[in-house]
């Protein structure tokens, strides 16, 4: 789906600040239909990388291919943006219209889709994110989670192959976060839409197919959630914490309990502690 090949990017020097290498030769392939979580602390380059996936930023070195199309080729920019939709952090700053359904219609209108087809796509997209009942509402009256789901609907109406969420849950309350994540997983499972989830919440990455950890503009770790989160020491050295369950098991292991810190679900974590305690008593 998306191939980044040796991508480098440098933010231009600003007053009183030196030019900073945001990406250093990043090579990464996102498989079609997969759910990839990209983690990293602030300034690790994860958002910069995401913005390369739909030609918002163009690589200074290397190249990015979307279904074989080079993002640097301005003739295919629109098609790339249609295939790879993007949802940003601040829900208020990406809603264009005064009515929910008008906003969902914005992208197909731009693409010149005929009116009846727009109607179908808007209805479909709003149903997919569970906002059909609010179609006539004013967006500023929605909650944060609802606004972010509307932003997702606006992207789905383009009928994309991939959705990139650039810290889309960072400004939401726990309930809103859960709703948005649920919606995204649903889209990935039901419609086979590729998802790239940029986040700094470890627990959001647990259900991903693959976890990529960025550090200092390069890929530091790459693997399934259980592979990546088992390497607690490495995560700590990158300034990141593992999910709570792993951190708990890790702490208990440090205190001398015989267990492996690899449980990502609460139940599995409880089982691991119980059996470790049982073994200790024997």
């Amino acid at each position: 789906m998306i191939q980044a090949q040796q991508v480098t990017y440098t933010y231009p020097a600003e007053e009183g600040r030196e030019a900073k290498d945001a990406l250093r030769a990043v090579t990464l392939t996102v498989e079609r239909g997969s759910f990839v979580a990209v983690l990293g602390h602030n300034g690790s380059g994860k958002s910069t990388l995401a913005k390369h996936f739909n030609a918002v930023l163009l690589p200074a070195g290397g190249r990015v291919l979307v279904d074989g199309m080079d993002t640097a080729d301005s003739a295919v920019t629109l098609e790339i943006r249609r295939r790879v939709g993007m949802v940003f952090q601040n829900p208020d700053n990406q809603i264009v219209a005064n009515v929910v359904e008008e906003d969902a219609a914005f992208a197909p209108e731009n693409l010149g889709v005929p009116t009846e087809e727009i109607r179908r796509r808007v209805d479909d997209a709003l149903a997919a994110v569970g906002l059909s009942d609010l179609r006539r509402h004013a967006p500023h009256l929605l909650s944060g989670g609802q606004k972010q789901r509307l932003a997702i609907a606006g992207v789905i109406a383009m009928e994309p192959e991939c959705i990139v969420l650039d810290e889309a849950t960072a400004m939401l309350d726990p309930a809103g976060r859960r709703d948005v994540l649920e919606t995204v997983h649903e889209l990935n499972r039901r419609r086979g839409i590729t998802v790239v989830l940029i986040t700094h919440h470890m627990d959001e990455a647990i259900r991903a197919d693959r976890v990529v950890v960025m550090n200092e503009g390069a890929v530091a770790m790459d693997g399934t959630p259980s592979e990546v989160f088992a390497q607690v020491d490495t995560l700590h050295s990158l300034g990141l914490a593992a999910p709570d369950t792993v951190e708990l098991l890790y702490g208990l292991k440090q205190d001398g309990l015989a267990l492996t810190p690899d449980a990502l679900e609460v139940d599995a974590c409880a089982d691991a502690i119980a059996s470790a305690l049982a073994r200790k008593e024997i």
């Binding site: 943006r81 249609r82 993007m86 700053n93 264009v96 219209a97 005064n98 009515v99 992208a107 500023h140």
Partner: protein, 268 residues
């Protein structure tokens, strides 16, 4: 404190007035204004007031809401009326000290003037009460589209209008937040004279502008990500279509305007 400001005074509804094509409504209001300025004497004013009342009844907008819309202009109406009352040349009402300055002609002019302003404002308010801001911008887009041939940026203009409407509530919320933040740090917005209070607002405006620019930047990126590339080749979810009722409404107002011109020449 700022939340009380109601913007977009649209009264949702499904009446014949609401259902009219917004372009037809704009044209009707333009004709209505022309007719209003042709009105000269009691009969024509009575006719205009009747027309407005019929439209308001059809729209089912409560009369209280209509008069509430007048509140900000009462002072202007009163002022122009008083001015006309005293400064119109003609025969004085009587010889008593104050009344000597009031002329019969002045009284008529003052009354008609006030009535004209009130009818004008109520008529235009009826348009915004029964038409959503989006429909209005769509209608402007369509009505102004002949200007595209003259390279007038019609699409850009209407997009700017609808984005401005979209962000008004967001920016009001933001202003509220900034004011609270400044108050929490001891800023005083409520005491002092006008100049002092205006000065106190400066620390609110600066962060508001900075944030508005940041928002604009993010919004532009988000729009580009949703394939926005100017007005070329855009389609629309809601397409405006003229129906028979729209033709009837425009024709009715055209007749009204013509009638007013005739009445004016008759001196009625």
């Amino acid at each position: 404190m700022l939340k009380d400001i109601t913007l977009g005074q649209y009264f949702p509804g499904d009446t014949p007035v609401h259902r009219l094509d917004p372009r037809a409504k704009i044209l009707c209001v333009v004709l209505y204004i022309v007719a209003l300025f042709c009105a000269k004497w009691v009969i024509s004013y009575a006719l205009m007031a009747l027309v407005l009342c019929v439209c308001v009844l059809f729209s089912r907008v409560p009369f209280r809401a209509m008069s509430r819309g007048l509140r900000p202009v009462y002072i202007i109406v009163l002022f122009t009326a008083v001015m006309n009352l005293f400064f119109t040349a003609g025969t004085p009402v009587s010889d008593l000290p104050v009344l000597r300055h009031i002329t019969v002609e002045g009284a008529y002019t003052a009354g008609f003037m006030a009535l004209r302003v009130i009818l004008l404002i109520m008529g235009t308010f009826l348009l915004t009460y029964t038409t959503s801001p989006i429909a209005l911008t769509d209608a402007l887009d369509s009505l102004l589209s002949p200007l595209k041939k003259l390279r007038f940026p019609v699409h850009e203009l209407t997009l700017m209008m609808s984005l401005a409407l979209r962000f008004i509530p967001t920016l009001i919320e933001e202003t509220d937040k900034i004011i609270s933040a400044q108050k929490a740090r001891g800023a005083d917005f409520e005491s002092g004279g006008l100049i002092r209070r205006a000065k106190a607002l400066l620390p609110v405006l600066v962060p508001l502008f900075v944030s508005a620019f940041r928002r604009a930047d993010e919004l532009a990126t988000a729009m580009e990500c949703r394939c926005y590339h100017g007005g070329e080749g855009r389609t629309a979810l809601h397409v405006l279509r003229f129906a028979a009722a729209d033709g009837v409404a425009i024709a009715a107002f055209a007749v009204l305007t013509a009638a007013m011109i005739v009445l004016r020449n008759l001196g009625w």
